[in-house]
Protein backbone atom coordinates (compact mmCIF):
# COMPACT_ATOMS: atom_id res chain seq x y z
CA UNK A 1 0.00 0.00 0.00
CA UNK A 2 2.79 2.37 0.99
CA UNK A 3 4.48 1.73 -2.35
CA UNK A 4 1.34 2.73 -4.21
CA UNK A 5 1.16 5.98 -2.18
CA UNK A 6 4.85 6.65 -2.88
CA UNK A 7 4.29 5.99 -6.58
CA UNK A 8 1.40 8.48 -6.78
CA UNK A 9 3.31 11.04 -4.72
CA UNK A 10 6.28 10.90 -7.10
CA UNK A 11 3.95 10.99 -10.10
CA UNK A 12 2.14 14.08 -8.72
CA UNK A 13 5.39 15.88 -8.03
CA UNK A 14 6.63 15.14 -11.54
CA UNK A 15 3.35 16.38 -13.02
CA UNK A 16 3.47 19.61 -10.98
CA UNK A 17 7.10 20.08 -11.94
CA UNK A 18 6.29 19.68 -15.62
CA UNK A 19 3.54 22.32 -15.46
CA UNK A 20 6.08 25.07 -14.78
CA UNK A 21 8.49 25.01 -17.61
CA UNK A 22 11.30 26.88 -15.91
CA UNK A 23 14.52 27.17 -17.85
CA UNK A 24 17.57 25.58 -16.29
CA UNK A 25 20.59 27.63 -15.31
CA UNK A 26 22.25 26.94 -18.68
CA UNK A 27 19.24 27.94 -20.79
CA UNK A 28 18.87 31.63 -21.64
CA UNK A 29 16.23 33.50 -19.68
CA UNK A 30 12.96 34.17 -21.48
CA UNK A 31 11.31 37.55 -21.89
CA UNK A 32 7.69 37.99 -23.00
CA UNK A 33 6.76 41.18 -24.84
CA UNK A 34 3.01 41.66 -24.41
CA UNK A 35 1.73 44.57 -26.50
CA UNK A 36 -1.75 46.13 -26.67
CA UNK A 37 -2.00 45.87 -30.46
CA UNK A 38 0.13 45.12 -33.49
CA UNK A 39 -2.43 46.81 -35.71
CA UNK A 40 -0.73 50.18 -35.26
CA UNK A 41 2.81 50.68 -36.63
CA UNK A 42 3.79 52.70 -33.54
CA UNK A 43 3.21 49.67 -31.27
CA UNK A 44 4.90 47.36 -33.76
CA UNK A 45 8.06 49.48 -33.40
CA UNK A 46 7.69 49.38 -29.61
CA UNK A 47 7.27 45.59 -29.46
CA UNK A 48 9.90 44.72 -32.06
CA UNK A 49 12.48 47.03 -30.49
CA UNK A 50 11.86 45.51 -27.03
CA UNK A 51 12.19 41.97 -28.40
CA UNK A 52 15.28 42.84 -30.45
CA UNK A 53 16.98 44.47 -27.47
CA UNK A 54 16.14 41.48 -25.25
CA UNK A 55 17.66 39.13 -27.85
CA UNK A 56 20.72 41.37 -28.19
CA UNK A 57 21.19 41.05 -24.43
CA UNK A 58 21.24 37.27 -24.78
CA UNK A 59 17.67 36.36 -23.85
CA UNK A 60 14.90 34.53 -25.67
CA UNK A 61 12.05 36.88 -26.57
CA UNK A 62 8.52 36.33 -27.82
CA UNK A 63 5.91 38.94 -28.80
CA UNK A 64 2.24 38.49 -27.78
CA UNK A 65 -0.46 40.66 -29.40
CA UNK A 66 -3.39 41.49 -27.06
CA UNK A 67 -5.46 42.99 -29.92
CA UNK A 68 -6.69 45.71 -27.55
CA UNK A 69 -8.55 43.02 -25.57
CA UNK A 70 -7.89 42.66 -21.84
CA UNK A 71 -9.25 39.07 -21.82
CA UNK A 72 -6.73 38.07 -24.47
CA UNK A 73 -4.09 39.96 -22.55
CA UNK A 74 -4.98 37.90 -19.45
CA UNK A 75 -4.49 34.70 -21.48
CA UNK A 76 -1.07 35.93 -22.58
CA UNK A 77 -0.08 36.58 -18.97
CA UNK A 78 -1.27 33.10 -17.93
CA UNK A 79 0.72 31.56 -20.79
CA UNK A 80 3.82 33.61 -20.06
CA UNK A 81 3.76 32.69 -16.37
CA UNK A 82 3.07 28.99 -16.88
CA UNK A 83 5.61 28.74 -19.72
CA UNK A 84 8.34 29.97 -17.41
CA UNK A 85 9.01 33.43 -18.88
CA UNK A 86 11.31 35.28 -16.49
CA UNK A 87 10.17 38.84 -17.21
CA UNK A 88 7.41 40.66 -19.07
CA UNK A 89 7.87 43.85 -21.07
CA UNK A 90 4.35 45.13 -21.18
CA UNK A 91 2.31 47.67 -23.10
CA UNK A 92 -1.08 47.60 -21.30
CA UNK A 93 -4.42 47.56 -23.05
CA UNK A 94 -6.29 49.32 -20.26
CA UNK A 95 -4.90 51.40 -17.37
CA UNK A 96 -7.37 49.83 -14.90
CA UNK A 97 -8.27 46.56 -16.60
CA UNK A 98 -4.63 45.47 -16.92
CA UNK A 99 -3.79 45.82 -13.21
CA UNK A 100 -5.06 42.31 -12.39
CA UNK A 101 -2.79 40.79 -15.04
CA UNK A 102 0.27 42.62 -13.76
CA UNK A 103 -0.58 41.61 -10.18
CA UNK A 104 -0.85 37.97 -11.26
CA UNK A 105 2.69 38.13 -12.66
CA UNK A 106 3.92 39.83 -9.51
CA UNK A 107 2.40 37.06 -7.39
CA UNK A 108 4.32 34.57 -9.52
CA UNK A 109 7.57 36.56 -8.98
CA UNK A 110 7.71 37.57 -12.63
CA UNK A 111 8.77 41.22 -12.96
CA UNK A 112 6.69 43.44 -15.27
CA UNK A 113 8.09 46.55 -16.94
CA UNK A 114 5.41 48.75 -18.50
CA UNK A 115 6.27 50.59 -21.70
CA UNK A 116 4.57 53.78 -22.93
CA UNK A 117 1.19 53.12 -21.29
CA UNK A 118 0.77 52.95 -17.53
CA UNK A 119 -1.42 50.93 -15.19
CA UNK A 120 -3.23 52.84 -12.47
CA UNK A 121 -1.34 51.21 -9.65
CA UNK A 122 2.01 52.05 -8.10
CA UNK A 123 2.38 48.65 -6.50
CA UNK A 124 1.94 46.13 -9.31
CA UNK A 125 4.55 46.73 -11.99
CA UNK A 126 8.27 46.64 -11.21
CA UNK A 127 8.72 49.89 -13.12
CA UNK A 128 6.78 51.94 -15.69
CA UNK A 129 8.69 53.69 -18.46
CA UNK A 130 6.34 56.27 -19.93
CA UNK A 131 6.34 59.12 -22.40
CA UNK A 132 5.95 62.41 -20.56
CA UNK A 133 2.80 63.16 -22.56
CA UNK A 134 1.60 65.85 -20.16
CA UNK A 135 4.79 67.93 -20.43
CA UNK A 136 4.99 67.34 -24.18
CA UNK A 137 1.50 68.73 -24.59
CA UNK A 138 2.30 71.75 -22.42
CA UNK A 139 5.01 72.59 -24.97
CA UNK A 140 2.50 71.99 -27.79
CA UNK A 141 -0.08 74.11 -25.96
CA UNK A 142 2.36 77.03 -25.68
CA UNK A 143 3.18 76.81 -29.37
CA UNK A 144 -0.52 76.52 -30.22
CA UNK A 145 -1.36 79.73 -28.30
CA UNK A 146 1.55 81.58 -29.92
CA UNK A 147 0.60 80.47 -33.44
CA UNK A 148 -3.05 81.43 -32.95
CA UNK A 149 -2.01 84.70 -31.34
CA UNK A 150 -4.20 83.91 -28.30
CA UNK A 151 -7.50 83.93 -30.15
CA UNK A 152 -9.62 81.74 -32.42
CA UNK A 153 -11.89 78.71 -32.57
CA UNK A 154 -10.52 75.22 -32.35
CA UNK A 155 -11.46 71.54 -32.26
CA UNK A 156 -9.85 68.89 -30.09
CA UNK A 157 -9.82 65.28 -31.32
CA UNK A 158 -9.13 62.86 -28.48
CA UNK A 159 -7.68 59.34 -28.55
CA UNK A 160 -9.14 56.30 -26.79
CA UNK A 161 -11.11 57.63 -23.82
CA UNK A 162 -10.03 54.69 -21.61
CA UNK A 163 -6.33 55.35 -22.15
CA UNK A 164 -4.44 57.51 -19.62
CA UNK A 165 -2.28 58.97 -22.40
CA UNK A 166 -5.38 60.48 -24.00
CA UNK A 167 -6.11 62.49 -20.87
CA UNK A 168 -2.50 63.27 -19.99
CA UNK A 169 -2.16 64.87 -23.44
CA UNK A 170 -5.47 66.68 -23.26
CA UNK A 171 -4.82 67.96 -19.73
CA UNK A 172 -1.30 69.14 -20.59
CA UNK A 173 -2.66 71.02 -23.60
CA UNK A 174 -5.56 72.59 -21.69
CA UNK A 175 -3.30 73.53 -18.74
CA UNK A 176 -1.94 76.22 -21.09
CA UNK A 177 -4.69 76.95 -23.60
CA UNK A 178 -7.47 77.41 -21.02
CA UNK A 179 -5.68 80.47 -19.65
CA UNK A 180 -6.61 82.32 -22.84
CA UNK A 181 -10.31 83.22 -23.02
CA UNK A 182 -9.92 84.29 -26.65
CA UNK A 183 -9.40 80.65 -27.61
CA UNK A 184 -12.73 78.83 -27.87
CA UNK A 185 -13.02 75.05 -28.18
CA UNK A 186 -16.09 74.52 -30.38
CA UNK A 187 -15.96 70.70 -30.30
CA UNK A 188 -14.11 67.93 -28.46
CA UNK A 189 -14.63 64.41 -29.75
CA UNK A 190 -12.87 61.04 -29.66
CA UNK A 191 -11.56 59.31 -32.76
CA UNK A 192 -9.81 56.42 -30.94
CA UNK A 193 -6.33 57.36 -32.24
CA UNK A 194 -7.56 56.27 -35.69
CA UNK A 195 -6.82 58.19 -38.89
CA UNK A 196 -10.05 57.36 -40.75
CA UNK A 197 -12.22 58.00 -37.72
CA UNK A 198 -10.54 61.38 -37.18
CA UNK A 199 -11.30 62.31 -40.79
CA UNK A 200 -14.97 61.36 -40.39
CA UNK A 201 -15.24 63.11 -37.01
CA UNK A 202 -13.79 66.35 -38.35
CA UNK A 203 -15.88 66.21 -41.53
CA UNK A 204 -18.99 66.12 -39.38
CA UNK A 205 -17.75 68.85 -37.00
CA UNK A 206 -16.93 71.11 -39.95
CA UNK A 207 -20.56 71.03 -41.06
CA UNK A 208 -21.63 72.78 -37.85
CA UNK A 209 -18.41 74.79 -37.40
CA UNK A 210 -17.03 75.79 -40.80
CA UNK A 211 -15.03 78.71 -39.37
CA UNK A 212 -12.46 76.96 -37.15
CA UNK A 213 -8.84 78.11 -36.97
CA UNK A 214 -7.09 75.04 -35.58
CA UNK A 215 -7.36 71.34 -34.70
CA UNK A 216 -5.46 69.74 -31.85
CA UNK A 217 -5.19 65.95 -32.18
CA UNK A 218 -4.12 63.42 -29.54
CA UNK A 219 -1.86 61.58 -31.99
CA UNK A 220 -0.32 61.94 -35.44
CA UNK A 221 -2.56 59.41 -37.18
CA UNK A 222 -5.57 61.54 -36.23
CA UNK A 223 -3.71 64.71 -37.28
CA UNK A 224 -3.24 63.20 -40.75
CA UNK A 225 -6.95 62.26 -40.85
CA UNK A 226 -7.91 65.77 -39.76
CA UNK A 227 -5.68 67.27 -42.45
CA UNK A 228 -7.37 65.06 -45.08
CA UNK A 229 -10.80 66.29 -43.98
CA UNK A 230 -9.65 69.92 -44.12
CA UNK A 231 -8.05 69.38 -47.52
CA UNK A 232 -11.27 67.87 -48.89
CA UNK A 233 -13.22 70.84 -47.51
CA UNK A 234 -10.78 73.33 -49.06
CA UNK A 235 -9.68 74.64 -45.66
CA UNK A 236 -6.23 73.07 -45.34
CA UNK A 237 -4.43 76.36 -45.99
CA UNK A 238 -5.93 78.35 -43.17
CA UNK A 239 -6.67 75.80 -40.45
CA UNK A 240 -3.62 74.84 -38.38
CA UNK A 241 -3.29 71.15 -37.38
CA UNK A 242 -1.30 69.91 -34.39
CA UNK A 243 -0.47 66.26 -33.67
CA UNK A 244 1.49 64.13 -31.22
CA UNK A 245 3.90 61.17 -31.74
CA UNK A 246 6.55 62.23 -34.22
CA UNK A 247 5.40 59.84 -36.97
CA UNK A 248 7.32 60.02 -40.26
CA UNK A 249 4.36 61.16 -42.36
CA UNK A 250 3.69 64.04 -39.96
CA UNK A 251 7.35 65.05 -39.91
CA UNK A 252 7.21 65.23 -43.71
CA UNK A 253 3.95 67.18 -43.49
CA UNK A 254 5.54 69.69 -41.10
CA UNK A 255 8.36 70.12 -43.61
CA UNK A 256 5.81 70.69 -46.38
CA UNK A 257 3.84 73.17 -44.25
CA UNK A 258 0.73 70.99 -43.97
CA UNK A 259 0.89 70.21 -40.24
CA UNK A 260 1.98 72.88 -37.75
CA UNK A 261 3.66 70.87 -34.98
CA UNK A 262 3.90 67.54 -33.16
CA UNK A 263 5.40 66.09 -29.99
CA UNK A 264 8.25 63.67 -30.70
CA UNK A 265 7.99 60.49 -28.65
CA UNK A 266 10.74 57.91 -28.37
CA UNK A 267 9.24 54.39 -28.45
CA UNK A 268 12.65 52.82 -29.09
CA UNK A 269 14.11 54.47 -25.97
CA UNK A 270 11.21 53.18 -23.86
CA UNK A 271 11.45 49.65 -25.27
CA UNK A 272 15.23 49.42 -24.92
CA UNK A 273 15.12 50.82 -21.39
CA UNK A 274 12.51 48.21 -20.40
CA UNK A 275 14.74 45.40 -21.72
CA UNK A 276 17.78 46.82 -19.91
CA UNK A 277 15.76 47.06 -16.68
CA UNK A 278 14.83 43.36 -17.06
CA UNK A 279 18.51 42.55 -17.37
CA UNK A 280 19.28 44.60 -14.25
CA UNK A 281 16.50 42.72 -12.46
CA UNK A 282 18.04 39.38 -13.42
CA UNK A 283 21.35 40.67 -12.07
CA UNK A 284 19.79 41.32 -8.68
CA UNK A 285 18.63 44.95 -8.78
CA UNK A 286 15.30 45.49 -7.03
CA UNK A 287 14.95 49.21 -6.27
CA UNK A 288 13.59 50.49 -9.60
CA UNK A 289 11.89 53.88 -9.85
CA UNK A 290 8.16 53.25 -10.13
CA UNK A 291 7.71 55.75 -12.96
CA UNK A 292 10.35 56.87 -15.42
CA UNK A 293 9.22 59.72 -17.67
CA UNK A 294 10.74 59.87 -21.14
CA UNK A 295 11.01 63.41 -22.53
CA UNK A 296 8.79 64.43 -25.45
CA UNK A 297 10.25 67.10 -27.74
CA UNK A 298 8.34 69.78 -29.62
CA UNK A 299 8.81 69.57 -33.40
CA UNK A 300 7.91 72.66 -35.45
CA UNK A 301 8.86 74.11 -38.84
CA UNK A 302 11.60 76.04 -36.99
CA UNK A 303 13.44 72.88 -35.84
CA UNK A 304 12.17 70.21 -38.28
CA UNK A 305 15.65 69.88 -39.79
CA UNK A 306 16.76 68.17 -36.55
CA UNK A 307 14.12 65.46 -36.79
CA UNK A 308 13.49 64.87 -40.47
CA UNK A 309 15.79 62.37 -42.17
CA UNK A 310 14.67 63.34 -45.67
Amino acid sequence: MKRIYAFFLVLSLLTIGACRNKPTAEEPKKIAVIVSTLNNPWFVVLAETAAAKARALGYEAKIFDSQNNTALEADHFENAISSGFNAILFNPTDADGSIANVSKAKAADVPVFCMDREVNSNKSATSQILSDSYSGCIALGKYFVKKLNKKGKYVEILGLVGDNNTWARSKGFHSVVDHYPGLKMVAQQSADFDRNKAMEVLESILQANPDIDAVFCGNDAMAMGAYQALYAAGKANHVQVFGFDGADDVLNSIKEGKIKATGMQYPKVMAETAALYAQEYFNGKRNFPQKVPVAVELVTPENIKNYSAN
Binding site: Y134, K171, V269
Partner: protein, 210 residues
Protein backbone atom coordinates in the same frame (compact mmCIF):
# COMPACT_ATOMS: atom_id res chain seq x y z
CA UNK B 1 -24.68 26.96 32.10
CA UNK B 2 -21.32 26.33 30.42
CA UNK B 3 -23.08 26.19 27.06
CA UNK B 4 -24.75 29.53 27.79
CA UNK B 5 -21.40 31.09 28.64
CA UNK B 6 -19.89 29.72 25.42
CA UNK B 7 -22.70 31.19 23.32
CA UNK B 8 -22.44 34.50 25.17
CA UNK B 9 -18.70 34.75 24.60
CA UNK B 10 -19.15 33.79 20.95
CA UNK B 11 -21.84 36.46 20.57
CA UNK B 12 -19.63 39.11 22.21
CA UNK B 13 -16.72 38.11 19.96
CA UNK B 14 -18.99 38.20 16.89
CA UNK B 15 -20.34 41.65 17.79
CA UNK B 16 -16.86 42.97 18.57
CA UNK B 17 -15.40 41.76 15.27
CA UNK B 18 -18.51 42.83 13.33
CA UNK B 19 -18.42 46.34 14.81
CA UNK B 20 -14.75 46.80 13.96
CA UNK B 21 -15.06 45.28 10.46
CA UNK B 22 -17.56 47.72 9.02
CA UNK B 23 -17.68 51.47 9.24
CA UNK B 24 -19.78 54.11 7.55
CA UNK B 25 -18.75 57.55 6.37
CA UNK B 26 -20.72 60.36 4.83
CA UNK B 27 -19.92 61.01 1.17
CA UNK B 28 -19.45 64.67 2.08
CA UNK B 29 -16.66 63.67 4.48
CA UNK B 30 -14.92 61.62 1.81
CA UNK B 31 -15.22 64.43 -0.68
CA UNK B 32 -13.95 66.89 1.95
CA UNK B 33 -10.95 64.62 2.52
CA UNK B 34 -10.20 64.64 -1.21
CA UNK B 35 -10.32 68.44 -1.18
CA UNK B 36 -7.96 68.48 1.79
CA UNK B 37 -5.54 66.29 -0.16
CA UNK B 38 -5.75 68.78 -3.01
CA UNK B 39 -5.10 71.64 -0.61
CA UNK B 40 -2.06 69.75 0.60
CA UNK B 41 -0.63 69.85 -2.90
CA UNK B 42 -0.98 73.62 -2.97
CA UNK B 43 0.44 73.81 0.56
CA UNK B 44 3.29 71.58 -0.56
CA UNK B 45 3.96 73.94 -3.47
CA UNK B 46 3.98 77.01 -1.23
CA UNK B 47 6.27 75.34 1.32
CA UNK B 48 8.51 74.11 -1.50
CA UNK B 49 8.72 77.64 -2.93
CA UNK B 50 9.49 79.33 0.41
CA UNK B 51 11.60 76.77 2.19
CA UNK B 52 13.38 74.86 -0.55
CA UNK B 53 13.41 76.71 -3.87
CA UNK B 54 14.17 80.29 -2.77
CA UNK B 55 16.96 79.29 -0.33
CA UNK B 56 18.55 77.15 -3.07
CA UNK B 57 18.79 79.98 -5.61
CA UNK B 58 22.20 81.13 -4.37
CA UNK B 59 23.54 77.87 -5.80
CA UNK B 60 22.35 78.77 -9.31
CA UNK B 61 25.06 78.66 -11.93
CA UNK B 62 26.18 81.84 -13.69
CA UNK B 63 24.59 81.86 -17.15
CA UNK B 64 27.81 83.10 -18.72
CA UNK B 65 29.83 80.34 -17.10
CA UNK B 66 27.37 77.77 -18.35
CA UNK B 67 27.42 79.15 -21.89
CA UNK B 68 31.22 79.14 -21.91
CA UNK B 69 31.29 75.52 -20.76
CA UNK B 70 28.61 74.50 -23.26
CA UNK B 71 30.79 75.90 -26.02
CA UNK B 72 34.00 74.21 -24.89
CA UNK B 73 32.80 70.99 -23.28
CA UNK B 74 29.04 70.42 -23.72
CA UNK B 75 29.25 66.85 -22.39
CA UNK B 76 30.67 68.09 -19.10
CA UNK B 77 28.19 70.97 -18.91
CA UNK B 78 25.23 68.61 -19.28
CA UNK B 79 26.56 65.88 -16.99
CA UNK B 80 27.64 68.29 -14.25
CA UNK B 81 24.86 70.85 -14.21
CA UNK B 82 21.96 69.49 -16.28
CA UNK B 83 19.04 68.09 -14.37
CA UNK B 84 16.13 65.93 -15.53
CA UNK B 85 13.72 63.62 -13.78
CA UNK B 86 13.51 61.09 -16.57
CA UNK B 87 15.24 59.83 -19.68
CA UNK B 88 15.88 61.92 -22.78
CA UNK B 89 17.83 64.80 -24.24
CA UNK B 90 15.94 67.62 -22.52
CA UNK B 91 17.88 68.91 -19.51
CA UNK B 92 17.20 71.79 -17.18
CA UNK B 93 19.56 74.28 -15.57
CA UNK B 94 19.04 76.87 -12.84
CA UNK B 95 21.00 79.96 -13.88
CA UNK B 96 21.61 83.49 -12.67
CA UNK B 97 22.98 86.61 -14.27
CA UNK B 98 22.78 90.30 -14.99
CA UNK B 99 21.72 91.93 -18.22
CA UNK B 100 20.54 95.00 -20.05
CA UNK B 101 17.01 95.08 -21.45
CA UNK B 102 17.12 95.43 -25.23
CA UNK B 103 13.41 95.27 -25.91
CA UNK B 104 10.19 94.69 -23.98
CA UNK B 105 7.95 92.47 -26.09
CA UNK B 106 4.41 91.28 -25.50
CA UNK B 107 5.48 87.81 -24.39
CA UNK B 108 9.08 88.22 -23.30
CA UNK B 109 11.83 90.64 -22.41
CA UNK B 110 14.93 90.46 -24.63
CA UNK B 111 18.04 90.81 -22.56
CA UNK B 112 21.68 91.35 -23.43
CA UNK B 113 23.52 89.24 -20.91
CA UNK B 114 26.52 91.26 -19.69
CA UNK B 115 29.81 90.28 -18.04
CA UNK B 116 30.60 88.07 -20.96
CA UNK B 117 33.23 88.25 -23.65
CA UNK B 118 30.63 88.13 -26.38
CA UNK B 119 27.12 89.46 -26.68
CA UNK B 120 24.49 86.95 -25.73
CA UNK B 121 20.81 87.77 -26.10
CA UNK B 122 18.41 85.72 -24.02
CA UNK B 123 14.67 86.04 -23.45
CA UNK B 124 13.01 86.28 -20.07
CA UNK B 125 9.55 84.68 -20.43
CA UNK B 126 6.88 87.04 -19.14
CA UNK B 127 3.77 85.46 -20.66
CA UNK B 128 4.16 81.74 -21.37
CA UNK B 129 5.28 80.52 -17.96
CA UNK B 130 4.23 76.88 -18.19
CA UNK B 131 5.98 73.51 -18.02
CA UNK B 132 8.43 71.82 -15.70
CA UNK B 133 11.57 73.92 -16.20
CA UNK B 134 11.67 75.39 -12.67
CA UNK B 135 10.57 72.22 -10.85
CA UNK B 136 13.09 70.06 -12.69
CA UNK B 137 15.98 72.55 -12.77
CA UNK B 138 15.77 72.89 -9.00
CA UNK B 139 16.74 69.22 -8.63
CA UNK B 140 14.86 69.24 -5.33
CA UNK B 141 11.84 67.06 -6.17
CA UNK B 142 11.79 63.35 -6.84
CA UNK B 143 9.03 61.86 -8.96
CA UNK B 144 8.92 58.73 -6.77
CA UNK B 145 7.90 60.78 -3.74
CA UNK B 146 4.47 61.10 -5.37
CA UNK B 147 1.94 58.33 -5.72
CA UNK B 148 0.43 59.70 -8.89
CA UNK B 149 1.74 61.63 -11.82
CA UNK B 150 -1.02 64.22 -11.79
CA UNK B 151 -0.05 65.42 -8.27
CA UNK B 152 3.50 65.70 -9.47
CA UNK B 153 2.41 67.77 -12.46
CA UNK B 154 0.32 69.97 -10.19
CA UNK B 155 3.50 70.97 -8.34
CA UNK B 156 4.80 72.47 -11.58
CA UNK B 157 1.48 74.18 -12.27
CA UNK B 158 1.56 75.62 -8.73
CA UNK B 159 5.12 76.91 -9.08
CA UNK B 160 4.28 78.54 -12.42
CA UNK B 161 1.18 80.14 -10.91
CA UNK B 162 3.30 81.72 -8.13
CA UNK B 163 5.65 83.10 -10.81
CA UNK B 164 2.75 84.51 -12.87
CA UNK B 165 1.01 85.97 -9.80
CA UNK B 166 3.92 87.18 -7.69
CA UNK B 167 7.12 87.47 -9.71
CA UNK B 168 5.92 88.91 -13.01
CA UNK B 169 3.15 91.52 -12.50
CA UNK B 170 5.28 94.19 -10.81
CA UNK B 171 8.24 93.46 -13.10
CA UNK B 172 6.09 93.80 -16.24
CA UNK B 173 4.66 97.09 -14.99
CA UNK B 174 8.03 98.69 -14.29
CA UNK B 175 10.42 97.26 -16.86
CA UNK B 176 11.63 99.40 -19.77
CA UNK B 177 14.25 99.23 -22.49
CA UNK B 178 17.69 100.13 -21.20
CA UNK B 179 17.04 98.90 -17.65
CA UNK B 180 19.61 96.64 -16.05
CA UNK B 181 18.22 93.58 -14.35
CA UNK B 182 19.39 90.75 -12.17
CA UNK B 183 17.74 87.39 -12.71
CA UNK B 184 17.61 83.81 -11.46
CA UNK B 185 15.63 81.31 -13.48
CA UNK B 186 15.43 77.98 -15.24
CA UNK B 187 16.33 77.11 -18.81
CA UNK B 188 15.68 74.02 -20.91
CA UNK B 189 18.33 72.82 -23.34
CA UNK B 190 18.31 69.89 -25.75
CA UNK B 191 21.53 67.94 -25.40
CA UNK B 192 21.34 66.44 -28.88
CA UNK B 193 20.18 69.56 -30.70
CA UNK B 194 21.87 72.28 -28.68
CA UNK B 195 20.73 75.76 -29.69
CA UNK B 196 22.27 78.67 -27.80
CA UNK B 197 20.71 81.34 -29.99
CA UNK B 198 17.20 80.92 -28.60
CA UNK B 199 17.52 80.64 -24.83
CA UNK B 200 14.37 81.31 -22.84
CA UNK B 201 14.58 81.84 -19.09
CA UNK B 202 11.61 81.03 -16.87
CA UNK B 203 12.21 83.54 -14.09
CA UNK B 204 12.11 82.74 -10.38
CA UNK B 205 13.60 86.01 -9.15
CA UNK B 206 13.81 89.32 -11.01
CA UNK B 207 15.29 92.57 -9.77
CA UNK B 208 15.42 95.84 -11.72
CA UNK B 209 18.75 97.55 -10.92
CA UNK B 210 18.17 100.73 -12.99
Amino acid sequence: MKKFLKYLLALIAFLFIGYHSVYFKKLTEVSARTSTEKINISQYTRTFWNKKLLPSLNKALSLNELIALLKTDPEKAFSTYGKALGIGDLKYFMVKGVGKVMKVNENEVALLSTATTENLVVNIATEYVYGNAVRDASGLINTNDFDNTSDFNEISAGINQIIRDEVLPDFKKRIASGDRIEFVGAIELNKKFLNLSDIEITPVQLKILK
